[in-house]
Symmetry: C2
Subunit: 255 residues, 2 copies
């Protein structure tokens, strides 16, 4: 994506070898037909797809709303473009749920409160906050998709990677935020606090989901998929937080 | 589009033979390179593309906002789908402006006040008003695209027809509105008033644009394109209003 520097967008092959590694083991070596014979794995994937689908739909709504804060028509169009991309991700995930015989609405409903809570707590008060949120949200979503992909059966993995491949539209925000901070360094302090609040709220809502959803959590902590234990989940959250911190620093924000 | 009956969506070949007629005359017989040699025609097309582009971007924003009124996730997804389609139309129109060497923002700016005024005056107060607005707006846009296409050079016409071809996502609204009226006939009276207000506001904003934009108006009244005179413009507005009235009747609303 334009304006992205190599520090903004890590090389996938180098940073996430597991997603390009053909030597998958455990569930990752199976396709959906084989893997879904385990009802717990199936329930976990339905949860995952439901959570991702509603996340994309909620992101669409909030980005479209935040586009109203744009100072120019170009800026508005950029945020609208991200919103539209999220909507297409939603469609892919929803269609997949229907394809495997699940009701998309039922699959999404358990996650509505967490996402709506997140967005309610993090409504940007101006355009720059909106840009930072768009960028942070998009980046964390990419990181999470990449992390989770390797733990999935080959069919679900292909879908998650396809959605991931079309993520990363938030890069346009980087240059604009950087320019605003250069023009007025005090902006940096305010946005750094904002970015920290975004991450804090995201983590707190994620914990709520993990506590509520047994099948999904079990998959993440290794009860079903391969090689995942509680320490590994902790490491995943650490890696995502660390990547966030690096991105914020690259943006001129001490996270 | 699903749920559309033949009375909702007229057969293009029968109702708008001019768009499928190969025997184009005047400007319609030229391509953009030839037609745009006339600076007045060029200015008119830039106005038209700017007006359509901002109309699509504004529609995207309002549909995305109105999606929040949806009672179910399915309904929300339907309105979000329309919003996303409008965004892709915007992209095509904006890209075409850039392709012919015009700044899209400058081309759109003269029309911002009219569209924003329209949407400000017609913010739906509930989901059914939102559905009627989505359907009416989508239908009027289709009618206008179809009418105007025949007056354009072949390249601009191809673009307008391509966008038109992807319009008509509002059909899902028909069945829902009809069901709501059946369940409570008083709803019909309220929505009929609402639809009349939408059309009135659309006409009043269109008149404002026609009064302000010389090149565009001149093209519409026949100064540049072929066969268009003031009476013809009046007829065009009549045809669009009449089609609207028919659609509203089919929906169970006396318009």
């Amino acid at each position: 994506m334009r304006f992205m520097t190599s520090s903004d967008k890590p090389d996938r092959a180098a940073d996430a070898p597991e997603t390009t590694d053909d030597a998958h083991t455990g569930v990752a070596a199976l396709d959906w037909a084989a893997a879904s014979a385990d009802p717990q794995y199936r329930a976990a994937v339905v949860d995952l797809l439901g959570a991702l689908a509603y996340g994309e739909l909620a992101a669409f709504e909030r980005l479209a709303e935040d586009a109203k804060l744009a100072p120019t028509l170009d800026d508005k169009a950029e945020l609208a473009k991200m919103a539209s991309a999220e909507f297409h991700h939603f469609e892919q995930l929803r269609d997949r749920l229907a394809e495997i015989g699940e009701d998309p609405t039922s699959a999404m409903e358990p996650f509505v409160a967490a996402y709506d809570g997140f967005h309610k707590q993090t409504a940007p008060s101006d355009w720059l906050e909106g840009l930072v949120k768009a960028y942070v949200g998009d980046s964390i979503a990419s990181d999470f998709y990449r992390e989770v992909a390797a733990r999935l059966d080959s069919d679900t993995r292909a879908l998650v990677l396809a959605v991931l491949d079309d993520t990363g539209h938030g890069g346009f925000a980087v240059e604009k935020v950087r320019a605003a901070i250069e023009a007025d360094p005090r902006v940096g302090g305010r946005l750094a606090l904002w970015a920290r609040r975004l991450m804090g709220e995201a983590l707190s809502q994620s914990q709520r989901v993990v506590a509520d959803r047994d099948a999904l959590s079990t998959m993440l902590v290794g009860g079903v998929a391969d090689g995942f234990d509680l320490a590994e989940v902790g490491k995943m959250f650490s890696r995502i937080t660390e990547a966030h911190t690096k991105r914020m620093a690259a943006l001129g924000l001490a996270a």
